[in-house]
């Protein structure tokens, strides 16, 4: 074990030295090389050293400061505290919802479908996975969907694997639908000035097209399994047991929790109009609304307030994001992203359609291997540099969002939702997912949905 870690560290350092050496040969300045090497260390840390990633991020940021690659003031600015605070606020709200049983209540809705058929079941879990991922984060949503699917499949004695796969695929697709679905959504919104309304008008419909296409595809892909489930449903007559299995009466706390979350969503949806009305800076309300609601919740549940902050907020991940954003910002600060943007333009030409396509496919392929937040954090300053070169930025932002979310479907480690749900499947049913069993269906869905987004971004003037 210890030997393996040492070997991995040796590999990491050799890789970083190689990156430094190659970039020096390419004529990049010293400070840019330091910024690039340290950012690369974070990228490789997510691939090789999951448990060390925060430690590597700490060391990296300290190195940037000590080597004067970036100053303290700019480092703080790049750390994007507004994005972190938004995520903290949302996590507190989700904590309240979990505690009041909202998710179990939602699951009972699936269980109560009348005249259940296999196709209805697939349609229902797909739409619910996508919409849940739109409203809360993808990880919370997939845990609940996986739990419900396992129970239902157990009841009908069928293999849960295809349905877990379907739920993961549609969760990743759904996470592109709104600002809330994925950390990259709020990150892009905060850096691009795109509003929740922009997401609802432009990303949400495109997400639905991808979702419907995927539903048709998986129904065809798993038609044998669906036939078996249909037979089992017919044999067992009614789903009385299922209705009784998970049941949460809509109590006062649940209704209140639901009310607070609904109101927050409503105000988030209207944030841009309210900002115009109150003459506030773009996205001021988008970023403060979760804080207002979470603050209210912590006054209401004052005895639980500390527990919301300590247990429901994933500080480990958030701290990694904070330092990652700081390091990504430094890439732009040193002027490196400008060099990269210019190189990319000289490589693919200055046709915006080709540039959008390149960005979309690169981010899709990249996020099939890497954490999409790492990837998007790296691409944001490059996209901003495209703006300085005179390109229209909107299609590029959408390309980054959809590439980052849809690419997660391609491999079984493509997104956190995949890892979490397949982990549950393995622990609960002892079913270990084979790389290729995932890959073929994931690749097909990933390529088709990314292809559709590509066509939309390239040919619909709406996205210009």
């Amino acid at each position: 074990m210890e030997n393996r870690i040492t070997l991995k560290f040796v590999f990491l350092f050799s890789l970083l030295i190689l990156i430094g050496f190659l970039s020096q040969r390419m004529g990049i300045q010293t400070q840019q090389i330091i910024a690039l090497t340290i950012f690369s260390a974070s990228v490789f840390a997510t691939l090789l050293f999951w448990e060390f990633r925060v430690a590597i991020a700490f060391l990296g940021v300290a190195t940037l400061l000590v080597t004067k690659t970036v100053d303290l003031e700019n480092l703080m600015k790049f750390a994007s505290l507004e994005v972190i605070l938004f995520l903290v606020g949302m996590m507190v709200l989700v904590g309240l919802l979990k505690e009041s049983g909202l998710f179990a209540w939602i699951i009972t809705i699936i269980l109560r479908i009348k005249n259940l058929t296999a196709k209805k079941f697939v349609f229902m879990i797909s739409v619910m996975s996508a919409l849940l991922a739109c409203c809360v984060d993808e990880v919370t949503s997939i845990i609940f969907m996986a739990a419900a699917i396992l129970e239902i499949c157990d009841y009908f004695e069928v293999d849960p694997t295809p349905y877990i796969i379907i739920s993961i695929l549609t969760t990743n697709i759904g996470s592109a639908g709104t600002v809330l679905g994925n950390p990259i959504g709020i990150l892009i919104a905060s850096k691009s000035g795109l509003t929740f309304e922009d997401f609802i008008l432009k990303a949400f419909p495109l997400m639905w097209i991808c979702l419907l296409l995927t539903i048709i595809l998986v129904m065809f892909w798993y038609h044998k399994g669906l036939k078996k489930l249909d037979e089992k449903i017919r044999d067992s007559q009614a789903n009385e047991f299922l209705i009784r299995l998970i049941s949460i009466p809509p109590e006062k706390q649940l209704m209140l929790g639901l009310g607070i979350f609904g109101l927050t969503l409503l105000f988030i949806a209207l944030h841009h109009r309210l900002e115009i009305l109150f003459r506030l800076e773009t996205n001021t309300l988008l970023l403060s609304l979760p804080l207002i609601s979470a603050g209210g919740v912590m006054v209401w549940k004052r005895k639980r307030a500390r527990s919301y902050i300590e247990k429901d907020v994933d500080w480990w991940t958030l701290l990694f994001f904070l330092l990652l954003f700081a390091k990504a910002g430094t890439l732009k600060y040193t002027g490196l992203t400008e060099v990269l943007a210019k190189n990319m333009v000289s490589l693919v030409g200055s046709n915006p359609k080709i540039l959008t396509g390149t960005l979309l496919w690169t981010s899709a392929i990249g996020s099939s291997i890497l954490d999409n937040v790492v990837l998007v954090a790296a691409f944001i300053p490059i996209v901003q540099s495209f703006g300085d070169l005179g390109f229209a930025l909107q299609p590029l932002w959408w390309a980054l969002l959809f590439g980052g979310c849809l690419g997660g479907n391609i491999t079984l480690v493509g997104s956190t939702a995949n890892i979490v749900a397949l982990g549950i499947l393995e622990k609960e049913r002892n079913i270990k997912m084979n790389f290729f069993r995932w890959f073929w269906v994931g690749l097909t869905v990933g390529v088709i949905t990314t292809g559709v987004v590509w066509l939309a971004l390239a040919f619909l003037p709406f996205y210009k």
Binding site: G101, F103, S247, E428
Partner: protein, 152 residues
Amino acid sequence: MKVKEIMKRDVTSVKPEDNAMETLTLLFKMQISGLPVIDGQGKLVGMFTEKDILRSILPSYIEKVGRFVYEENPKSIKNKFKELENLKVSQLMRKEIITVFEDAAVCEVARIMLTQKVRRIPVLNKENKVVGIVAREDIIKSYAKEAEWKIE
């Protein structure tokens, strides 16, 4: 006061290769909630407790989903309980064990129990061999004795 003065020296333990269901039966018979697991070389390798059994038969996501009420027990619980018969103690036991040395002060052991939320702690000698076990009960009894309070 040192922990070796109040610990129980007669330690019942199980082996990592013991059957999980049989060990559970042993817990029920002894009316205790956990036992130390000691391997062939006499080394303490884990603790096997009722909590580990609960964790293994309940759905693994139950701690993450908040309030998720099952009105009827899910089928998986029945299956997983039966599965205990095919599992070894080593597959379920907790491997991160909190231990104390025999010369530790009783107050320090009590502090560890409170902060680490454990009910009983194996006591080791300098050679890292288990020489006893101390439970919350032993500590409270020792305090009672010191206060000259007779517990009926």
